[in-house]
Protein backbone atom coordinates (compact mmCIF):
# COMPACT_ATOMS: atom_id res chain seq x y z
CA UNK A 1 0.00 0.00 0.00
CA UNK A 2 1.30 3.44 -0.91
CA UNK A 3 0.74 6.04 1.77
CA UNK A 4 0.79 9.79 1.46
CA UNK A 5 1.33 12.20 4.36
CA UNK A 6 1.81 15.96 4.61
CA UNK A 7 5.58 15.86 5.47
CA UNK A 8 5.00 17.25 8.98
CA UNK A 9 6.14 15.44 12.10
CA UNK A 10 2.55 15.23 13.37
CA UNK A 11 1.51 13.78 10.03
CA UNK A 12 4.08 11.04 10.40
CA UNK A 13 2.97 10.27 13.95
CA UNK A 14 -0.61 9.97 12.72
CA UNK A 15 0.67 7.48 10.17
CA UNK A 16 2.27 5.46 12.96
CA UNK A 17 -1.07 5.52 14.80
CA UNK A 18 -2.87 4.14 11.75
CA UNK A 19 -0.31 1.36 11.38
CA UNK A 20 -1.17 0.16 14.87
CA UNK A 21 -4.91 0.83 15.06
CA UNK A 22 -6.08 0.44 11.48
CA UNK A 23 -3.53 -2.22 10.53
CA UNK A 24 -2.27 -0.56 7.39
CA UNK A 25 1.04 -1.87 6.00
CA UNK A 26 2.76 0.79 3.89
CA UNK A 27 5.17 -0.39 1.19
CA UNK A 28 6.01 3.14 0.19
CA UNK A 29 5.58 6.44 2.02
CA UNK A 30 5.39 9.61 -0.04
CA UNK A 31 5.01 13.29 0.72
CA UNK A 32 3.53 14.42 -2.60
CA UNK A 33 1.53 12.72 -5.31
CA UNK A 34 3.86 10.95 -7.72
CA UNK A 35 3.98 12.19 -11.31
CA UNK A 36 4.26 8.76 -12.82
CA UNK A 37 1.31 6.50 -13.27
CA UNK A 38 0.91 4.10 -10.38
CA UNK A 39 -1.68 1.38 -10.50
CA UNK A 40 -1.63 0.70 -6.80
CA UNK A 41 -4.08 2.43 -4.54
CA UNK A 42 -2.82 5.53 -2.70
CA UNK A 43 -4.04 6.21 0.82
CA UNK A 44 -3.84 9.78 2.05
CA UNK A 45 -3.26 10.30 5.76
CA UNK A 46 -4.97 13.28 7.31
CA UNK A 47 -2.97 14.73 10.15
CA UNK A 48 -4.79 14.28 13.43
CA UNK A 49 -3.35 16.20 16.38
CA UNK A 50 -4.93 13.96 19.02
CA UNK A 51 -3.65 10.74 17.48
CA UNK A 52 -0.23 12.29 16.97
CA UNK A 53 -0.06 13.36 20.60
CA UNK A 54 -0.98 9.86 21.70
CA UNK A 55 1.84 8.33 19.70
CA UNK A 56 4.26 10.99 20.94
CA UNK A 57 3.42 10.16 24.56
CA UNK A 58 3.89 6.48 23.89
CA UNK A 59 7.25 7.12 22.25
CA UNK A 60 8.37 9.22 25.19
CA UNK A 61 7.36 6.54 27.63
CA UNK A 62 8.73 3.53 25.82
CA UNK A 63 11.88 4.81 24.13
CA UNK A 64 15.18 5.65 25.79
CA UNK A 65 16.16 9.29 25.61
CA UNK A 66 18.79 8.60 22.99
CA UNK A 67 16.51 6.58 20.74
CA UNK A 68 13.76 9.16 21.11
CA UNK A 69 16.17 11.86 19.96
CA UNK A 70 17.25 9.68 17.05
CA UNK A 71 13.66 9.79 15.76
CA UNK A 72 13.63 13.59 15.90
CA UNK A 73 17.02 13.89 14.30
CA UNK A 74 16.11 11.51 11.49
CA UNK A 75 13.26 13.82 10.69
CA UNK A 76 15.74 16.62 10.02
CA UNK A 77 17.14 14.67 7.07
CA UNK A 78 14.29 15.94 4.93
CA UNK A 79 15.96 15.45 1.55
CA UNK A 80 16.18 11.68 2.03
CA UNK A 81 13.55 8.98 1.94
CA UNK A 82 13.78 7.91 5.55
CA UNK A 83 10.10 7.22 6.30
CA UNK A 84 9.94 3.45 5.81
CA UNK A 85 13.13 2.86 7.78
CA UNK A 86 11.93 5.16 10.55
CA UNK A 87 8.60 3.34 10.70
CA UNK A 88 10.39 0.00 11.01
CA UNK A 89 12.67 1.54 13.62
CA UNK A 90 9.68 2.65 15.69
CA UNK A 91 7.91 -0.70 15.39
CA UNK A 92 11.12 -2.50 16.40
CA UNK A 93 11.61 -0.09 19.29
CA UNK A 94 8.12 -0.73 20.67
CA UNK A 95 8.88 -4.44 20.71
CA UNK A 96 12.35 -4.31 22.24
CA UNK A 97 14.55 -1.28 22.90
CA UNK A 98 17.68 -3.41 22.97
CA UNK A 99 17.26 -4.43 19.36
CA UNK A 100 17.76 -0.80 18.36
CA UNK A 101 21.48 -1.36 18.98
CA UNK A 102 21.60 -4.32 16.62
CA UNK A 103 23.02 -2.98 13.38
CA UNK A 104 22.21 -6.24 11.62
CA UNK A 105 18.63 -4.92 11.24
CA UNK A 106 18.60 -2.92 8.05
CA UNK A 107 16.41 -0.14 9.49
CA UNK A 108 18.77 0.37 12.45
CA UNK A 109 21.79 0.35 10.17
CA UNK A 110 20.20 2.81 7.75
CA UNK A 111 19.02 5.16 10.48
CA UNK A 112 22.44 5.12 12.12
CA UNK A 113 24.09 5.91 8.82
CA UNK A 114 21.59 8.66 8.13
CA UNK A 115 22.27 10.25 11.51
CA UNK A 116 25.99 10.01 10.88
CA UNK A 117 25.45 11.76 7.56
CA UNK A 118 23.36 14.42 9.28
CA UNK A 119 25.99 15.20 11.86
CA UNK A 120 28.81 15.01 9.37
CA UNK A 121 26.90 17.50 7.28
CA UNK A 122 26.24 19.65 10.32
CA UNK A 123 29.89 19.55 11.32
CA UNK A 124 30.93 20.69 7.87
CA UNK A 125 28.36 23.46 7.95
CA UNK A 126 29.74 24.76 11.26
CA UNK A 127 32.93 25.47 9.35
CA UNK A 128 31.47 26.59 6.06
CA UNK A 129 28.76 29.03 7.22
CA UNK A 130 29.82 32.60 6.46
CA UNK A 131 28.51 35.60 8.35
CA UNK A 132 28.38 39.19 7.22
CA UNK A 133 28.15 42.10 9.61
CA UNK A 134 25.05 44.26 9.19
CA UNK A 135 24.73 47.98 9.88
CA UNK A 136 23.57 47.38 13.45
CA UNK A 137 26.48 44.91 14.03
CA UNK A 138 24.16 41.90 13.85
CA UNK A 139 25.87 38.93 12.22
CA UNK A 140 23.84 37.48 9.38
CA UNK A 141 24.43 34.20 7.55
CA UNK A 142 22.64 32.69 4.59
CA UNK A 143 22.50 28.92 4.48
CA UNK A 144 21.75 26.50 1.71
CA UNK A 145 21.99 22.96 3.05
CA UNK A 146 20.77 19.52 2.12
CA UNK A 147 19.45 18.80 5.62
CA UNK A 148 17.58 20.94 8.10
CA UNK A 149 20.47 21.87 10.40
CA UNK A 150 19.65 25.47 11.33
CA UNK A 151 18.78 24.53 14.89
CA UNK A 152 22.02 22.62 15.42
CA UNK A 153 24.03 25.46 13.89
CA UNK A 154 22.30 28.00 16.08
CA UNK A 155 23.16 25.96 19.15
CA UNK A 156 26.77 25.69 18.05
CA UNK A 157 27.17 29.42 17.55
CA UNK A 158 25.47 30.18 20.85
CA UNK A 159 28.73 29.12 22.47
CA UNK A 160 30.99 31.13 20.23
CA UNK A 161 29.03 34.33 19.70
CA UNK A 162 27.69 34.56 23.19
CA UNK A 163 27.88 38.36 23.29
CA UNK A 164 26.69 38.94 19.71
CA UNK A 165 23.30 38.98 18.04
CA UNK A 166 23.09 36.80 14.99
CA UNK A 167 20.72 35.31 12.43
CA UNK A 168 21.23 32.07 10.51
CA UNK A 169 18.82 32.07 7.62
CA UNK A 170 17.94 28.93 5.66
CA UNK A 171 16.77 30.43 2.35
CA UNK A 172 15.27 27.24 0.90
CA UNK A 173 13.30 26.14 3.95
CA UNK A 174 12.27 29.69 4.85
CA UNK A 175 13.32 29.39 8.48
CA UNK A 176 15.95 31.14 10.56
CA UNK A 177 17.72 30.75 13.87
CA UNK A 178 17.60 34.11 15.59
CA UNK A 179 19.58 35.12 18.63
CA UNK A 180 19.06 38.55 20.13
CA UNK A 181 18.41 39.96 23.57
CA UNK A 182 14.77 38.81 23.77
CA UNK A 183 14.67 35.70 21.62
CA UNK A 184 16.77 32.61 21.03
CA UNK A 185 15.38 29.96 18.72
CA UNK A 186 14.10 28.97 15.29
CA UNK A 187 11.45 31.06 13.56
CA UNK A 188 9.69 30.95 10.23
CA UNK A 189 10.61 33.67 7.79
CA UNK A 190 7.91 34.47 5.26
CA UNK A 191 9.58 37.23 3.28
CA UNK A 192 12.79 39.14 3.67
CA UNK A 193 14.70 42.00 2.11
CA UNK A 194 18.39 41.88 1.33
CA UNK A 195 19.88 43.57 4.44
CA UNK A 196 22.49 46.35 4.30
CA UNK A 197 25.97 45.39 5.36
CA UNK A 198 28.29 47.44 7.54
CA UNK A 199 30.99 49.74 6.18
CA UNK A 200 33.88 47.39 7.04
CA UNK A 201 32.33 44.35 5.40
CA UNK A 202 33.90 44.87 1.96
CA UNK A 203 37.33 45.40 3.47
CA UNK A 204 37.38 42.20 5.49
CA UNK A 205 35.87 39.95 2.85
CA UNK A 206 38.48 41.21 0.42
CA UNK A 207 41.23 40.63 2.97
CA UNK A 208 39.96 37.11 3.54
CA UNK A 209 40.02 36.35 -0.17
CA UNK A 210 43.59 37.63 -0.41
CA UNK A 211 44.58 35.43 2.50
CA UNK A 212 42.77 32.45 1.05
CA UNK A 213 44.52 32.73 -2.30
CA UNK A 214 47.98 33.31 -0.92
CA UNK A 215 48.04 30.33 1.47
CA UNK A 216 47.71 27.83 -1.37
CA UNK A 217 51.01 26.32 -2.48
CA UNK A 218 51.28 26.29 -6.26
CA UNK A 219 53.43 23.15 -6.58
CA UNK A 220 50.97 21.10 -4.51
CA UNK A 221 47.88 22.29 -6.37
CA UNK A 222 45.09 19.70 -6.42
CA UNK A 223 41.69 21.04 -7.42
CA UNK A 224 40.08 17.61 -7.45
CA UNK A 225 40.95 17.17 -3.79
CA UNK A 226 39.58 20.60 -3.03
CA UNK A 227 36.30 19.71 -4.68
CA UNK A 228 36.18 16.52 -2.64
CA UNK A 229 36.67 18.41 0.60
CA UNK A 230 34.40 21.39 -0.13
CA UNK A 231 31.78 19.97 -2.51
CA UNK A 232 30.07 22.53 -4.70
CA UNK A 233 26.81 22.23 -2.79
CA UNK A 234 28.42 23.92 0.21
CA UNK A 235 29.88 26.78 -1.78
CA UNK A 236 26.70 28.73 -2.54
CA UNK A 237 27.29 31.44 0.06
CA UNK A 238 30.97 31.00 0.89
CA UNK A 239 32.81 34.29 0.61
CA UNK A 240 35.96 32.87 -0.94
CA UNK A 241 34.11 31.01 -3.70
CA UNK A 242 31.66 33.75 -4.69
Amino acid sequence: MIVLYDSSFEGFLTLVYKVYYEKITPTKILQTYPNTLILEEITEIETDQIHAQKVLNALQKKFTKKNFESIFHTFMCDSKEFELDLLQFIILGFKDQKQLLNINHSCVFNIQNLLKELFRHNHKMTGFVRFVELEDTTLYAKVDSKFNVVYFLGKHFLKRFNNQTYIIHDIQRKIAFIKNDDFIGVQEVATFEEPKTSADEQKFSKLWRTFFESVAIESRKNLKLQKQLVPLLYRTYMTEFL
Binding site: I103, F109, G127, R130, E133, R160, D200, S214, V215, L229
Partner: protein
Protein backbone atom coordinates in the same frame (compact mmCIF):
# COMPACT_ATOMS: atom_id res chain seq x y z
CA UNK B 1 48.54 40.56 4.38
CA UNK B 2 49.47 38.87 1.15
CA UNK B 3 53.18 38.91 1.92
CA UNK B 4 52.79 37.64 5.44
CA UNK B 5 50.34 34.85 4.76
CA UNK B 6 52.32 33.89 1.67
CA UNK B 7 55.41 33.37 3.80
CA UNK B 8 53.56 31.42 6.46
CA UNK B 9 51.94 28.95 4.10
CA UNK B 10 54.78 26.43 4.26
CA UNK B 11 53.86 25.61 7.83
CA UNK B 12 51.84 22.42 7.64
CA UNK B 13 50.18 22.44 11.02
CA UNK B 14 46.66 23.73 10.88
CA UNK B 15 44.66 21.60 13.22
CA UNK B 16 42.45 23.19 15.80
CA UNK B 17 41.47 19.87 17.31
CA UNK B 18 42.34 18.49 20.70
CA UNK B 19 41.61 21.67 22.60
CA UNK B 20 39.04 21.32 25.31
CA UNK B 21 35.57 22.69 24.77
CA UNK B 22 35.29 25.93 26.65
CA UNK B 23 33.14 29.00 26.51
CA UNK B 24 32.10 31.74 28.82
CA UNK B 25 28.77 33.47 28.91
CA UNK B 26 28.99 36.99 27.58
CA UNK B 27 32.31 36.47 25.84
CA UNK B 28 33.33 35.69 22.33
CA UNK B 29 34.85 32.52 21.04
CA UNK B 30 35.04 28.88 21.92
CA UNK B 31 37.19 25.96 20.94
CA UNK B 32 35.87 22.57 20.01
CA UNK B 33 37.66 19.33 20.70
CA UNK B 34 36.94 17.90 17.29
CA UNK B 35 38.37 20.89 15.45
CA UNK B 36 36.62 22.50 12.51
CA UNK B 37 37.87 23.07 9.01
CA UNK B 38 36.57 26.34 7.66
CA UNK B 39 37.70 26.06 4.09
CA UNK B 40 40.05 24.19 1.80
CA UNK B 41 42.61 25.84 -0.43
CA UNK B 42 43.31 25.02 -4.07
CA UNK B 43 45.99 22.56 -2.94
CA UNK B 44 43.43 20.71 -0.84
CA UNK B 45 44.73 21.70 2.58
CA UNK B 46 42.37 22.70 5.31
CA UNK B 47 42.11 26.31 6.40
CA UNK B 48 41.19 26.37 10.02
CA UNK B 49 43.35 29.09 11.45
CA UNK B 50 44.45 32.50 10.31
CA UNK B 51 48.00 31.43 9.59
CA UNK B 52 50.28 34.44 9.33
CA UNK B 53 53.69 35.67 10.26
CA UNK B 54 53.83 38.66 12.54
CA UNK B 55 56.69 39.73 10.33
CA UNK B 56 58.85 38.14 7.65
CA UNK B 57 61.94 40.14 8.60
CA UNK B 58 64.48 37.63 9.82
CA UNK B 59 68.04 37.70 11.08
CA UNK B 60 68.59 33.99 10.42
CA UNK B 61 69.91 32.48 7.24
CA UNK B 62 68.43 28.96 6.97
CA UNK B 63 69.03 27.52 3.52
CA UNK B 64 65.55 25.99 3.05
CA UNK B 65 63.55 29.00 4.23
CA UNK B 66 61.95 31.57 1.98
CA UNK B 67 62.40 34.35 4.53
CA UNK B 68 66.13 33.97 5.12
CA UNK B 69 68.00 37.21 5.51
CA UNK B 70 69.96 36.89 2.28
CA UNK B 71 66.79 36.58 0.17
CA UNK B 72 65.68 39.72 -1.60
CA UNK B 73 61.92 39.63 -1.04
CA UNK B 74 59.36 42.24 -0.03
CA UNK B 75 59.19 42.50 3.76
CA UNK B 76 56.28 43.54 5.95
CA UNK B 77 55.09 43.44 9.55
CA UNK B 78 51.80 43.60 11.46
CA UNK B 79 51.30 45.86 14.42
CA UNK B 80 49.98 43.69 17.31
CA UNK B 81 46.69 45.60 17.47
CA UNK B 82 46.18 45.45 13.72
CA UNK B 83 46.55 41.67 13.76
CA UNK B 84 44.25 41.32 16.76
CA UNK B 85 41.56 43.34 14.96
CA UNK B 86 41.79 41.22 11.84
CA UNK B 87 41.55 38.05 13.93
CA UNK B 88 38.44 39.27 15.72
CA UNK B 89 36.70 40.32 12.54
CA UNK B 90 37.55 37.10 10.72
CA UNK B 91 36.34 35.11 13.68
CA UNK B 92 33.01 36.93 13.82
CA UNK B 93 32.40 36.09 10.16
CA UNK B 94 33.20 32.44 10.88
CA UNK B 95 36.10 32.47 8.41
CA UNK B 96 38.46 30.97 10.94
CA UNK B 97 38.68 28.91 14.09
CA UNK B 98 41.46 30.99 15.59
CA UNK B 99 44.94 32.35 15.08
CA UNK B 100 48.16 30.59 14.13
CA UNK B 101 50.93 33.02 14.87
CA UNK B 102 54.46 32.54 13.75
CA UNK B 103 57.19 35.02 13.02
CA UNK B 104 60.55 35.72 11.55
CA UNK B 105 63.14 36.97 14.02
CA UNK B 106 63.09 40.75 14.05
CA UNK B 107 65.95 42.48 15.90
CA UNK B 108 66.32 39.73 18.50
CA UNK B 109 64.55 36.60 19.78
CA UNK B 110 63.24 38.39 22.86
CA UNK B 111 61.93 41.38 20.93
CA UNK B 112 59.98 39.09 18.59
CA UNK B 113 58.54 37.16 21.51
CA UNK B 114 57.50 40.44 23.11
CA UNK B 115 55.50 41.43 20.04
CA UNK B 116 53.78 38.05 19.96
CA UNK B 117 52.95 38.29 23.63
CA UNK B 118 51.45 41.74 23.14
CA UNK B 119 49.15 40.44 20.39
CA UNK B 120 48.02 37.63 22.66
CA UNK B 121 47.34 39.97 25.55
CA UNK B 122 45.19 42.27 23.40
CA UNK B 123 43.17 39.29 22.17
CA UNK B 124 42.71 37.50 25.46
CA UNK B 125 42.39 40.35 27.94
CA UNK B 126 41.09 43.31 25.99
CA UNK B 127 38.84 41.58 23.43
CA UNK B 128 37.98 38.63 25.70
CA UNK B 129 38.63 36.18 22.92
CA UNK B 130 38.33 32.52 23.96
CA UNK B 131 39.03 30.93 20.60
CA UNK B 132 41.97 28.88 19.55
CA UNK B 133 45.44 30.42 19.46
CA UNK B 134 48.51 28.53 18.30
CA UNK B 135 51.89 30.18 18.81
CA UNK B 136 55.22 29.20 17.34
CA UNK B 137 57.72 29.62 20.13
CA UNK B 138 60.91 31.39 19.17
CA UNK B 139 63.91 29.22 20.07
CA UNK B 140 66.38 31.05 22.27
CA UNK B 141 63.96 33.55 23.80
CA UNK B 142 63.66 34.29 27.49
CA UNK B 143 62.04 31.67 29.76
CA UNK B 144 59.74 34.22 31.41
CA UNK B 145 58.33 35.30 28.07
CA UNK B 146 57.72 31.70 27.09
CA UNK B 147 55.93 31.08 30.35
CA UNK B 148 53.53 33.97 29.73
CA UNK B 149 52.83 32.90 26.16
CA UNK B 150 52.17 29.32 27.23
CA UNK B 151 49.62 30.50 29.78
CA UNK B 152 47.67 32.41 27.12
CA UNK B 153 47.90 30.14 24.07
CA UNK B 154 45.88 26.98 23.36
CA UNK B 155 48.81 25.22 21.77
CA UNK B 156 52.45 26.00 21.16
CA UNK B 157 55.01 24.49 18.83
CA UNK B 158 58.54 24.79 17.61
CA UNK B 159 59.68 23.36 14.31
CA UNK B 160 62.60 20.98 14.34
CA UNK B 161 62.55 21.02 10.52
CA UNK B 162 65.54 18.71 10.05
CA UNK B 163 65.80 15.30 11.67
CA UNK B 164 69.47 15.38 12.68
CA UNK B 165 72.06 17.75 14.10
CA UNK B 166 74.30 17.27 11.13
CA UNK B 167 71.68 18.44 8.66
CA UNK B 168 70.76 21.36 10.85
CA UNK B 169 74.37 22.50 10.89
CA UNK B 170 74.53 22.27 7.13
CA UNK B 171 71.30 24.05 6.28
CA UNK B 172 70.43 26.14 9.33
CA UNK B 173 73.70 27.36 10.81
CA UNK B 174 71.98 29.46 13.50
CA UNK B 175 69.97 26.56 14.94
CA UNK B 176 70.82 23.41 16.84
CA UNK B 177 68.49 20.62 17.89
CA UNK B 178 69.02 21.52 21.53
CA UNK B 179 68.08 25.10 20.87
CA UNK B 180 64.92 24.12 18.99
CA UNK B 181 63.77 21.65 21.63
CA UNK B 182 64.53 23.98 24.54
CA UNK B 183 61.28 26.02 24.36
CA UNK B 184 59.23 22.83 23.99
CA UNK B 185 60.76 21.26 27.07
CA UNK B 186 60.31 24.47 28.96
CA UNK B 187 56.68 24.77 27.89
CA UNK B 188 55.98 21.19 28.93
CA UNK B 189 57.48 21.70 32.38
CA UNK B 190 55.57 24.92 32.94
CA UNK B 191 52.20 23.51 31.97
CA UNK B 192 52.83 20.26 33.85
CA UNK B 193 53.37 22.20 37.03
CA UNK B 194 50.15 24.13 36.60
CA UNK B 195 47.48 21.60 35.69
CA UNK B 196 49.20 18.21 35.53
CA UNK B 197 48.40 18.07 31.85
CA UNK B 198 50.89 19.12 29.22
CA UNK B 199 49.80 21.81 26.78
CA UNK B 200 49.34 20.50 23.25
CA UNK B 201 52.52 20.87 21.26
CA UNK B 202 53.55 19.98 17.76
CA UNK B 203 56.52 20.19 15.45
CA UNK B 204 57.31 19.90 11.79
CA UNK B 205 59.94 17.94 9.89
CA UNK B 206 60.99 18.56 6.31
CA UNK B 207 61.09 15.38 4.24
CA UNK B 208 63.43 14.99 1.32
CA UNK B 209 65.76 17.95 1.80
CA UNK B 210 68.48 15.94 3.55
CA UNK B 211 69.70 12.33 3.23
CA UNK B 212 68.02 10.94 6.39
CA UNK B 213 65.95 7.82 5.73
CA UNK B 214 62.42 7.17 6.92
CA UNK B 215 63.64 5.13 9.88
CA UNK B 216 65.57 8.07 11.34
CA UNK B 217 62.54 10.29 10.98
CA UNK B 218 60.13 7.79 12.45
CA UNK B 219 62.40 6.96 15.37
CA UNK B 220 62.66 10.64 16.17
CA UNK B 221 58.87 11.02 16.10
CA UNK B 222 58.37 7.94 18.27
CA UNK B 223 60.87 9.26 20.81
CA UNK B 224 59.11 12.62 20.90
CA UNK B 225 55.71 11.00 21.44
CA UNK B 226 57.07 8.72 24.15
CA UNK B 227 58.47 11.54 26.20
CA UNK B 228 55.02 13.19 26.13
CA UNK B 229 56.71 16.15 24.60
CA UNK B 230 54.53 16.34 21.54
CA UNK B 231 51.00 15.60 20.52
CA UNK B 232 51.67 15.62 16.86
CA UNK B 233 54.52 15.66 14.37
CA UNK B 234 53.89 17.10 10.92
CA UNK B 235 55.81 16.07 7.85
CA UNK B 236 56.34 18.43 5.00
CA UNK B 237 57.49 17.27 1.58
CA UNK B 238 60.41 19.46 0.65
CA UNK B 239 59.51 22.23 -1.78
CA UNK B 240 62.46 24.17 -3.18
CA UNK B 241 62.09 27.90 -2.71
CA UNK B 242 65.76 28.89 -2.71
CA UNK B 243 68.85 27.93 -4.69
CA UNK B 244 71.59 26.70 -2.43
CA UNK B 245 74.53 24.44 -3.03
CA UNK B 246 73.67 22.39 0.04
CA UNK B 247 70.09 21.71 -1.02
CA UNK B 248 69.11 18.79 -3.20
CA UNK B 249 67.79 19.31 -6.69
CA UNK B 250 64.54 17.49 -7.22
CA UNK B 251 64.42 15.25 -10.23
CA UNK B 252 60.73 15.88 -10.76
CA UNK B 253 58.80 19.10 -10.51
CA UNK B 254 56.48 17.71 -7.82
CA UNK B 255 57.58 17.47 -4.17
CA UNK B 256 57.88 13.90 -2.73
CA UNK B 257 54.21 13.75 -1.78
CA UNK B 258 53.91 9.97 -1.73
CA UNK B 259 56.78 9.66 0.75
CA UNK B 260 55.09 12.28 2.91
CA UNK B 261 51.84 10.32 2.70
CA UNK B 262 53.49 7.04 3.73
CA UNK B 263 55.18 8.79 6.65
CA UNK B 264 51.83 10.09 7.84
CA UNK B 265 50.38 6.57 7.58
CA UNK B 266 53.24 5.24 9.68
CA UNK B 267 52.78 8.10 12.13
CA UNK B 268 49.11 7.16 12.56
CA UNK B 269 50.14 3.58 13.27
CA UNK B 270 52.34 4.91 16.06
CA UNK B 271 49.70 7.13 17.59
CA UNK B 272 46.40 5.32 17.15
CA UNK B 273 47.22 1.68 16.43
CA UNK B 274 49.76 1.07 19.16
CA UNK B 275 52.58 0.11 16.82
CA UNK B 276 56.22 0.51 17.81
CA UNK B 277 58.62 2.25 15.46
CA UNK B 278 60.80 -0.85 15.12
CA UNK B 279 57.81 -2.92 14.00
CA UNK B 280 57.33 -0.67 11.02
CA UNK B 281 60.95 -0.15 9.94
CA UNK B 282 64.27 -1.77 10.77
CA UNK B 283 67.91 -1.76 9.67
CA UNK B 284 67.21 -4.07 6.72
CA UNK B 285 64.34 -1.95 5.42
CA UNK B 286 65.06 1.60 6.51
CA UNK B 287 62.59 3.15 4.09
CA UNK B 288 58.85 2.84 3.71
CA UNK B 289 57.57 0.92 0.71
CA UNK B 290 56.04 3.24 -1.87
CA UNK B 291 53.83 0.56 -3.39
CA UNK B 292 52.24 -0.77 -0.22
CA UNK B 293 51.07 0.98 2.90
CA UNK B 294 53.03 0.38 6.14
CA UNK B 295 50.39 -1.79 7.80
CA UNK B 296 50.15 -4.06 4.77
CA UNK B 297 53.94 -4.40 4.78
CA UNK B 298 53.91 -5.25 8.48
CA UNK B 299 51.21 -7.87 7.95
CA UNK B 300 53.06 -9.49 5.04
CA UNK B 301 56.20 -9.72 7.17
CA UNK B 302 54.28 -11.20 10.10
CA UNK B 303 52.12 -13.82 8.45
CA UNK B 304 52.20 -15.95 11.61
CA UNK B 305 49.37 -13.83 13.08
CA UNK B 306 47.08 -14.41 10.13
CA UNK B 307 44.50 -15.35 9.08
CA UNK B 308 42.51 -13.91 11.94
CA UNK B 309 38.99 -14.98 12.90
CA UNK B 310 37.03 -11.75 13.00
CA UNK B 311 34.37 -13.21 15.27
CA UNK B 312 36.96 -13.85 17.98
CA UNK B 313 39.80 -11.37 17.58
CA UNK B 314 40.09 -8.62 20.19
CA UNK B 315 39.90 -4.94 19.28
CA UNK B 316 43.69 -4.64 19.42
CA UNK B 317 44.04 -7.57 17.05
CA UNK B 318 41.35 -6.33 14.68
CA UNK B 319 43.02 -2.98 14.09
CA UNK B 320 46.20 -4.77 13.08
CA UNK B 321 44.45 -6.23 10.03
CA UNK B 322 45.33 -4.23 6.90
CA UNK B 323 42.34 -2.29 5.63
CA UNK B 324 40.49 -2.41 8.93
CA UNK B 325 40.67 0.79 10.87
CA UNK B 326 39.37 1.90 14.22
CA UNK B 327 35.87 2.60 12.91
CA UNK B 328 35.50 -0.72 11.12
CA UNK B 329 36.79 -2.53 14.18
CA UNK B 330 34.09 -0.90 16.32
CA UNK B 331 31.46 -1.83 13.75
CA UNK B 332 32.59 -5.46 13.81
CA UNK B 333 32.56 -5.60 17.59
CA UNK B 334 29.09 -4.06 17.73
CA UNK B 335 27.63 -6.31 15.08
CA UNK B 336 29.10 -9.58 16.30
CA UNK B 337 27.31 -9.27 19.60
CA UNK B 338 24.14 -10.23 17.81
CA UNK B 339 25.31 -12.78 15.24
CA UNK B 340 28.28 -14.60 13.74
CA UNK B 341 29.64 -12.47 10.94
CA UNK B 342 30.20 -13.80 7.45
CA UNK B 343 31.93 -12.15 4.47
CA UNK B 344 28.58 -10.89 3.21
CA UNK B 345 27.87 -9.25 6.55
CA UNK B 346 31.08 -7.27 6.29
CA UNK B 347 30.08 -6.04 2.87
CA UNK B 348 26.67 -5.16 4.22
CA UNK B 349 28.26 -3.15 7.06
CA UNK B 350 30.20 -1.28 4.38
CA UNK B 351 33.57 -2.47 5.62
CA UNK B 352 36.12 -2.50 2.83
CA UNK B 353 37.61 -5.96 2.44
CA UNK B 354 39.83 -5.16 -0.53
CA UNK B 355 42.92 -5.49 1.63
CA UNK B 356 41.46 -7.32 4.60
CA UNK B 357 40.15 -10.33 2.68
CA UNK B 358 43.62 -11.90 2.45
CA UNK B 359 44.05 -11.84 6.20
CA UNK B 360 40.75 -12.82 7.74
CA UNK B 361 38.58 -15.83 8.41
CA UNK B 362 34.86 -15.17 8.75
CA UNK B 363 33.05 -17.77 10.79
CA UNK B 364 35.56 -20.43 9.74
CA UNK B 365 35.54 -19.48 6.05
CA UNK B 366 38.55 -18.18 4.15
CA UNK B 367 38.52 -16.71 0.65
CA UNK B 368 39.69 -19.44 -1.67
CA UNK B 369 41.31 -17.79 -4.68
CA UNK B 370 44.62 -16.71 -3.21
CA UNK B 371 46.73 -19.03 -1.05
CA UNK B 372 47.96 -17.56 2.21
CA UNK B 373 51.51 -16.83 1.18
CA UNK B 374 53.32 -13.53 1.24
CA UNK B 375 54.25 -13.43 -2.44
CA UNK B 376 50.86 -14.57 -3.70
CA UNK B 377 49.04 -11.91 -1.73
CA UNK B 378 51.41 -9.16 -2.78
CA UNK B 379 51.14 -10.11 -6.45
CA UNK B 380 47.38 -10.33 -6.34
CA UNK B 381 46.96 -7.04 -4.51
CA UNK B 382 49.24 -5.09 -6.82
CA UNK B 383 48.00 -6.52 -10.09
CA UNK B 384 46.13 -3.92 -12.12
CA UNK B 385 42.42 -4.39 -12.00
CA UNK B 386 41.03 -5.63 -15.28
CA UNK B 387 38.89 -3.25 -17.19
CA UNK B 388 35.64 -4.76 -18.34
CA UNK B 389 35.81 -5.12 -22.06
CA UNK B 390 32.48 -4.45 -23.65
CA UNK B 391 30.96 -7.57 -25.06
CA UNK B 392 28.10 -7.97 -27.43
CA UNK B 393 25.78 -8.85 -24.59
CA UNK B 394 26.43 -5.71 -22.54
CA UNK B 395 25.07 -3.31 -25.08
CA UNK B 396 21.84 -1.68 -24.04
CA UNK B 397 18.87 -2.96 -25.83
CA UNK B 398 15.22 -2.60 -25.17
CA UNK B 399 13.80 -5.48 -23.18
CA UNK B 400 10.52 -5.42 -24.98
CA UNK B 401 11.45 -5.02 -28.61
CA UNK B 402 15.04 -6.23 -28.51
CA UNK B 403 16.12 -3.16 -30.48
CA UNK B 404 19.64 -1.84 -29.97
Amino acid sequence: MQILSDSAKYDVSCSSSGAENNYKTGELGATQSSGICHSFTADGRCVSLLKVLLTNFCIYDCAYCINKVSNDIPRAAFAPRELADITMNFYKRNYIEGLFLSSGIIESEDHTMHLILRTLKILRHEYKFNGYIHVKLIPGSDAKLIEQVVSLASRVSSNIELPSDKSLKLLAPNKTKEKVLQPLKLARDISMEKNNKPIGMSTQLIVGATPENDMDILNLSAALYDKALLKRVYYSAYIPVNDDKNLPILSTSKPPLLREHRLYQADWLLRFYDFKADEILNEQNPNLDEELDPKMVWALNNMQYFPMEINKASFEELIRIPGIGVKSAYKIINARRFKKLRFDDLKYLKISIKKAKYFIVCNGKYQKEIPLYRENIKLDFLKPTKKNEPSLFDIDYSVITGQL
